[in-house]
C-alpha cells in the first residue's frame, strides 16, 4: 500500500516538544501568521511557556484528535501543522485546521499538498463522511488552497471579526466524501 502520510511535497510527522517549542515561539512572533491562523488577539509564546504547554498537550491521548506536523520532502524542514480536530464519530464528521509558520512556503502548494494528505487520511483511513473548516475573509490565499483541495463554500458568519478597523466575515467550507471521490486521482 502507498504511504498514507506522504504527499508530493510534504509528509506528516510527529515532533518532539523541544523542536516544536522553538518553532512555535518563532512563528508566534509573526503577527501576520497569527492573524491568519486564529481570531485570538496576537500573542507571543516564550520558548519556556510553550514547551511546558506542549509537553502537557502531547501527553494527552485522544481518539477524536489527529494532529500532525508538516515537513518538506525535499529537505525535511518543519514548516507547519495540520490536524483533524474533534472527530465526531457518530456523525462521521471532523473539523480540520492547518497552518504554515514558515512564510517562505506560503503560496507554493505546500499547504494544499498537506491538506490533500490529511483528506486522504480522513476519508480513506478514518472513513469519515465530511470534513469542515472555517477561514477568515482576509485570507484569500487559504480560500484558494482549500478550493483546490476540493472544499466548497457553504456559508459565512457576517462581520465575525474586527481587525484593522473593519469587520470581516468568517467563511465556512466543507467537503463530503462523494466530493472527494469525484476529484481526479492525482488531486487526492
Amino acid at each position: 500500500m502507498a504511504d498514507l502520510l506522504s504527499g508530493k511535497l510534504v509528509r506528516l510527522t510527529a515532533e518532539e516538544p523541544k523542536t516544536l517549542a522553538e518553532a512555535y515561539s518563532r512563528w508566534s512572533h509573526d503577527s501576520e501568521y497569527w492573524r491568519l491562523e486564529t481570531s485570538d488577539c496576537a500573542r507571543q509564546f516564550s520558548v519556556w511557556g510553550i514547551q511546558k504547554e506542549l509537553e502537557k498537550e502531547l501527553e494527552k491521548e485522544s481518539e477524536n484528535n489527529f494532529f500532525f506536523h508538516i515537513r518538506t520532502l525535499a529537505d525535511d524542514r518543519l514548516i507547519g501543522n495540520v490536524g483533524l480536530d474533534g472527530v465526531r464519530w457518530q456523525h462521521g464528521e471532523s473539523f480540520v485546521g492547518i497552518g504554515l509558520g514558515e512564510r517562505e512556503f506560503w503560496g507554493r502548494g505546500y499547504g494544499t499538498d498537506a491538506m490533500r494528505v490529511i483528506l486522504r487520511y480522513a476519508f480513506q483511513e478514518l472513513n469519515l463522511r465530511r470534513v469542515s473548516l472555517d477561514v477568515f475573509e482576509y485570507n484569500p490565499r487559504a480560500v484558494r488552497s482549500y478550493e483546490k483541495a476540493g472544499f466548497r463554500h457553504e456559508g459565512y458568519a457576517r462581520g465575525y471579526l474586527l481587525r484593522e478597523g473593519r469587520r470581516w466575515d468568517l467563511i465556512f467550507m466543507g467537503i463530503l466524501r462523494q466530493d472527494w471521490l469525484a476529484l481526479p486521482t492525482e488531486d487526492r
Partner: protein
Amino acid sequence: MTDNLFRGQLVHLAADEPEVLAKVSSRWAQDSEYFRLLDSEPPILWSEKKHKEWIEKELEKDSSDNFGFMIHKNDDNAVLGFIALFALNWNHGDTLVAIALGERDHWGKGYGTDAMRIMLRYAFQELNLHRVGLLVFEYNPRAIRSYEKAGFQPEGRIRGMMRREGRRWDWLMMGILRSEWLQLQQESG
C-alpha cells in the same frame, strides 16, 4: 494587515523568557534611580533565582487580561526593558500600561516612545480597546515627555501621593482615547 504588529522603528516586542528577564531584572534593580522611577515601593533586591521563580509564577497565571513583553533593540536584539498592559477591563475596553527601560545608556533616545507606540497600536488595532491610561511620578519629566510624544493627554493628578528625598510628590494620570490615536495615525499618514 500590518506586516508585523510587534515591530517598530527602533525596537520590537517579544515574549517574556523567564531566564532572560530574570537576568536583566536582577541587574536593573541594583540601580536605585531606575527602581524609584518605576515603583513607589522601597527598593528590594532579589537574587536572579528569586526573580526567575517570581516571573514563572506570574506567567503561569491566567493571561486573558495581562499582556507583557520584553523590549528588544532592532539592530542587535539586546533587551532594553519591558512593557505591559495590566488591569485590563474587557467590558469597558480600558487598560493601564506600564513601561520601563533598565538600560540607562538608552534613556532619552526614543526607544521607550517607540515601544509605547507599538503597544498603543496593539491596544487599539488588535485588542480594539477604547482607552489606555497610565500613572507617572511628578519627578520623571523624561517619561512624561515621552508619553506626550506618543499621544497621551494629562488627565489629572493625585496630590502628594508619595514622599521621597524629604518632600512630597504628585502622581500624574495620563490617558489616550481611541479617537485621539486614530487622529494621530491620520496626521502621520
